[in-house]
Symmetry: C2
Subunit: 383 residues, 2 copies
């Protein structure tokens, strides 16, 4: 069985007929295209949601930051989040994966394990894929479908002055988790280099350290135990296994009062700008209202970092950011909290010009200042 | 404007509102997900078709074999062909593209020019995408949707003993075109190396020829004029700008007599095997019936190659291979030909065991032999 046949073997008939049927799948993986009909139980006219998201080795992850299962989980989760961000129900996924020869099949199998675990968690039917080889780096592009009642998709463009601004979870966790993982990996490499030095070996290569890299063992992902020991487990979990706000999105969409919605894939400030520009409003975010996790605060303190930098400009948290009619904000919050889901009112929309401001209201003795926030996005490895 | 903003600029509002509306697009590129409804004019229950296909630099193309416009065209055309191969109408596309820093934005713009040209040709609405950077090689993964009347998708599994086997065009053209392109590029490199030698320069690098490559100018695609001069223009066109059989698929699907259908992306023998195994039949292909283009025959003769090798084991022709109720084969052929579309009856399905045989019926004096065909696929660069 060649490598591609093996991958087909891992993906065919992997999900139960009941799950596939529940998503309206007529024909899944294995023919020229998948065939899907209207999912059963849907009454009334439907519209379909479609999104694609890509993860590239060395750009979005490396050997130290993510295990293979994490890559598969996150590749799908990022897409599921896009469907949630439209107020929709995720339905199907198609997976394009380009695999370098240096990736043993066992690693690919583990990537699919993570992807199917995420698919199971969110009830997504994996209905198609394409596997190709890749010269050097793994690339995985996932396309998802979702459904929404006709005319009920929630775009970025609907925010109105007076609306309340909310998030469904703490932002910045994933970026702080990545910071920890990169630091832990660098420390591990330094320790390994020190341990290796006494062995002497055959002296320096004329090409320098780079030439030795191909024969060096592949770095292993920073183990979860290291994060547990450092008190950063929640941050690392947010980076490796993000949990898109699908249930919150469904409850919010059903209320009919949410006027704009986005997921925080590219940082809170950047996504707020997206809504502000699309809607032609100014979003004022109150610093005192931004949810800040204890482990983020503790880790930022420990490494002398500004937690606000992660909260505003970190990315890949996949919580939802949106606006809601002010009169319904408290009731929506109460409904989500009754379902065990957090919701934080963090500011309000104001009449334009389009922009995002941070209201510096933490210092109760000083004057309240307002600072414009830059529209800059998330950059994984600072490259 | 950064590179990604420039790419968004090339893709937003690029297609006419009329085209988008004709495909039921409610919301196109620019939000978390696209929103599509039922395309107007569709009566009765629909099912959706979904497929994804990926092209990787150095695996599926290189600088010599394809211009940027060709890559964009073919990335979409391969997917459109998958929808045709189900008897469906292509509707929408989502484009994931991972771009290395070595690709100037201008090259990416040309890739999109080709992709949008193909989208215009087949009426496909481009409704989403994701652009990421890539460490070294370009990767483009396209997902397409299509529609088909509920229950009318044509799978691989329906062939019955007695059915006629048909193709909608000559196979092997693309593989022969690639052969020409690689040979022309190698000849060009040899000529360039000879031309460079008299200039002397600073002598050999201790690392050999490979070390000079990064500073060498990027090879340009073999120009169409070279193919014109060599009589291989049709072969090169088949490789660079494949034309999926969308109209033929629509006419064939409407007849209701087509029992299985596949596109020849992976070679005639390989796709015949797919149908044979899925349907549990034996497909007997008659050598005398296989369409063979004049330019393919001439080029094979010129380079001492066996044209049958390309016809059976070449790939990426994107013609359709299928089976049809024997009683309707002649009428279907007449209908397609009246529409200016070729159709060739090349054999028949027989009772299993599953397999594919070539009936060697060209030598009218000798005995007719039957040879089993191997189930091997297409490998671009022999790697």
């Amino acid at each position: 069985m060649d490598e591609f046949a093996r991958i087909r073997h891992w993906t065919e008939r992997r999900q139960s007929p009941a799950l596939l049927a529940s998503q309206g799948v007529v024909l899944g993986i294995g023919d020229d295209a998948a065939v899907v009909g209207t999912p059963p139980g849907e009454a009334g006219a439907l519209e379909w949601l479609l999104a694609v998201d890509t993860m590239v080795e060395t750009v979005h992850f490396n050997d130290a930051t993510m295990a293979e299962e994490d890559i598969g989980w996150k590749a799908l989760a990022a897409n599921v989040s896009d469907i949630a961000a439209m107020g929709g129900t995720p339905r199907h996924a198609l997976v394009s994966i380009s695999v370098p020869k240096t990736w043993e099949p066992e690693r690919v199998r583990r990537l699919y394990d993570g992807l199917y675990a995420c698919a199971g968690q969110y009830g997504v039917a994996v209905i198609g894929g394409d596997t190709t080889s890749s010269p050097l780096h793994l690339v995985v592009a996932v396309t998802v479908t979702g459904t929404v009642a006709a005319g009920r998709a929630i775009c970025r463009a609907g925010a109105r002055p007076g609306d309340a601004v909310f998030v469904t979870g703490a932002a910045g966790m994933s970026a702080a988790g990545l910071h920890f993982l990169l630091a832990a990996a660098a420390a591990g490499e330094a320790a390994a280099a020190n341990a290796a030095q006494p062995m002497g070996a055959a002296g320096g290569s004329p090409l320098g350290a780079g030439a030795a890299a191909p024969s060096a063992p592949r770095p292993r992902p920073v183990p979860p135990a290291a994060a547990e020991a450092a008190g950063t487990a929640a941050l690392v979990q947010a980076h490796r296994r993000p949990a898109p706000s699908v249930r919150a999105a469904a409850l919010l969409a059903a209320r009919g009062s949410v006027t704009s919605l986005d997921d925080v894939s590219d940082g809170l400030a950047s996504e707020a700008w997206e809504i502000a520009q699309a809607s032609g409003v100014k979003l004022a975010l109150r610093e005192s209202r931004l949810p800040k996790s204890g482990s983020l605060a503790a880790y930022a303190h420990r490494c002398g970092a500004d937690p606000l930098e992660w909260i505003l400009y970190g990315g890949e948290d996949y919580v939802l950011l949106g606006t809601i009619a002010a009169g319904d904000a408290d009731a929506a919050k109460a409904e989500l909290e009754a379902a065990g889901l957090p919701m934080y009112i963090i500011g309000e929309a104001e009449a334009g010009p389009a922009g995002v401001e941070l209201v510096r209201d933490l210092d109760v003795r000083g004057p309240v200042r307002r600072e414009p926030l830059a529209k800059r996005g998330y950059n994984h490895f600072g490259g």
